[in-house]
């Protein structure tokens, strides 16, 4: 297989720009998604049937439909309603945040439920109310357990952000496709993109492993 380095060299600045946006999108996505996931996760756990039902629908919808369709819906349906016109970056961030929120809600719920029941009972038996117990006793412990799955979600988000290219958000995959369609060559751009994704995801999971080990020994 011939492999044309020259066209890759030509695209280096674009790949760089794209990679930065890829990182930015996933980073913002995981941050907003975490806040959202917290709200949705708590919402699903409340005794209020209606709130719990709505939160559950949210989770079911975002986990049950392809991201591709979600991005289109948000890009052409939601963002114009919000800011009057489409904007690929805004749409990608919203879509990634919303889907991350759905997964993080479950991570969050699992994290809370993984804390021994005795912790809540001990806090309540001291006279602390439910909110105080959550805040001072349950959540700090749950958050620590959530770090590894949150990291995984970040990795997933990095890969999924590649779908942002379909609404012309100029991230890594967008420039990969631009190169592909300029030269009608597939391997150079896509293998390069794959390699960059691989570097991003493996270095992230390396960092995660170290963090996890640090947390475990603490």
């Amino acid at each position: 297989m011939d492999f044309r380095l020259d066209i890759l060299v030509e695209y280096i600045p674009f790949f760089l720009k794209g990679t930065l946006l890829t990182i930015g999108l996933s980073l913002v996505g995981i941050l907003i998604g975490t806040v959202l996931g917290l709200i949705i996760g708590l919402g699903k756990m409340t005794r209020n049937k209606l709130i719990s039902f709505i939160c559950n629908c949210y989770i079911v919808f975002f986990r049950g439909t392809p991201l591709f369709v979600q991005i289109l819906l948000i890009h052409f349906g939601v963002v114009p309603m919000l800011i009057g016109h489409t904007n690929g970056i805004v749409a990608s961030i919203i879509a990634l945040s919303l889907i991350a929120g759905a997964y993080i809600a479950e991570i969050f719920r699992a994290g809370i439920q993984s804390i021994d029941k005795g912790q809540m009972e001990a806090a309540r038996s001291l006279g602390m109310n439910h909110v105080q117990s959550m805040k001072d006793v349950i959540l700090p412990q749950a958050f620590k357990r959530m770090i590894p799955p949150l990291g995984n979600e970040f990795i997933v988000l990095i890969k999924e952000s590649s779908l942002a290219a379909i609404v012309a958000t100029p991230e890594l995959m967008y420039y990969g496709r631009a190169l592909a369609s300029q030269y009608y060559r597939v391997w150079e751009p896509y293998l390069t993109a794959a390699l960059i994704y691989l570097v991003l995801t493996t270095s992230l999971s390396y960092l995660l492993n170290r963090l996890e080990r640090r947390l475990a020994t603490e």
């Binding site: 309540r124 038996s125 001291l126 006279g127 412990q141």
Partner: protein
């Protein structure tokens, strides 16, 4: 004072407490014994509403805690509880475990709370462990911290649910010692335990539970040496 009248508790279709009646006076130390599954823990947990009560009434210091209008968090500050599994907060140091509730609920300042916390740690013999994390403590030390934590809210009553049964044998003594001290100081205590020596030495009264009822009760010496009911006899024959 604790008054329990016709207390019933069911989990789903499983009637765990069938008809419990008891009167526990101030400064009394009541030991609860009985076979596994007889409802001892459930009974104890009903006393501070960690389990919702299905029927009947429980009043603590004259306050009916089954009444919907009662502020249960307030009641719980009067009733300390110590669990078999310690349930210390692993993300907080020993002293932080102790001062958390006083600061949150009694709104004590950090210094004041810490001062009183250290006093309690001294009492349970763990002053030097104030800034350690629970994971670095032995079982006996953990349980003593748990007792100090419960005492920090200055409860009028203390509930103990098998406080020594998760401990290595050589640590049982140090925990029982702290409990004995507490009893001597006049704390009202309800203790579920299999430590018959403690019951004999410290208990004012022993309740024997079986199948959701209090089958027999008496002063320790009488109950252990002269059980009236067959079930009590058969249980004691296995345990003593």
């Amino acid at each position: 004072m604790i008054e329990v009248k016709n207390l019933k508790k069911t989990f789903g279709s499983n009637e765990v407490l069938k008809d419990i009646n008891a009167l526990i006076s101030p400064k009394e130390v009541v030991v609860v014994i009985g076979p596994s599954g007889s409802g001892k823990s459930t009974f104890l947990r009903c006393l501070n509403l960690l389990e919702s009560i299905t029927a009947g009434h429980v009043s603590i210091e004259g306050v009916d805690i089954t009444d919907k209008k009662t502020d249960i968090n307030k009641v719980r500050t009067e009733v300390g509880m110590v669990f078999q599994q310690f349930n210390l907060f692993p993300h907080k140091t020993v002293i932080e475990n102790i001062i958390l509730a006083p600061m949150r609920i009694r709104k004590l300042s950090a210094e004041k709370a810490r001062e009183r916390g250290l006093e309690l740690l001294r009492k349970v013999g763990l002053k030097e462990k104030a800034d350690a994390y629970p994971d670095s403590l032995s079982g006996g030390q953990k349980q003593r911290v748990a007792i100090a934590r419960a005492l920090a809210m200055e409860p009028k009553i203390m509930l103990f649910d098998e406080p020594t049964s998760a401990l290595d044998p050589e640590m049982v003594g140090e925990v029982l010692e702290v409990m004995k001290q507490l009893a001597l100081e006049g704390m009202t205590m309800v203790v579920v335990t299999h430590e018959m020596g403690f019951a004999r030495e410290v208990g004012d009264r022993v309740l024997f539970m079986d199948g959701g009822y209090i089958v027999e009760e008496n002063i320790p010496k009488e109950l252990f040496e002269n059980p009236q009911q067959d079930r009590t006899k058969s249980f004691l024959s296995k345990v003593l």
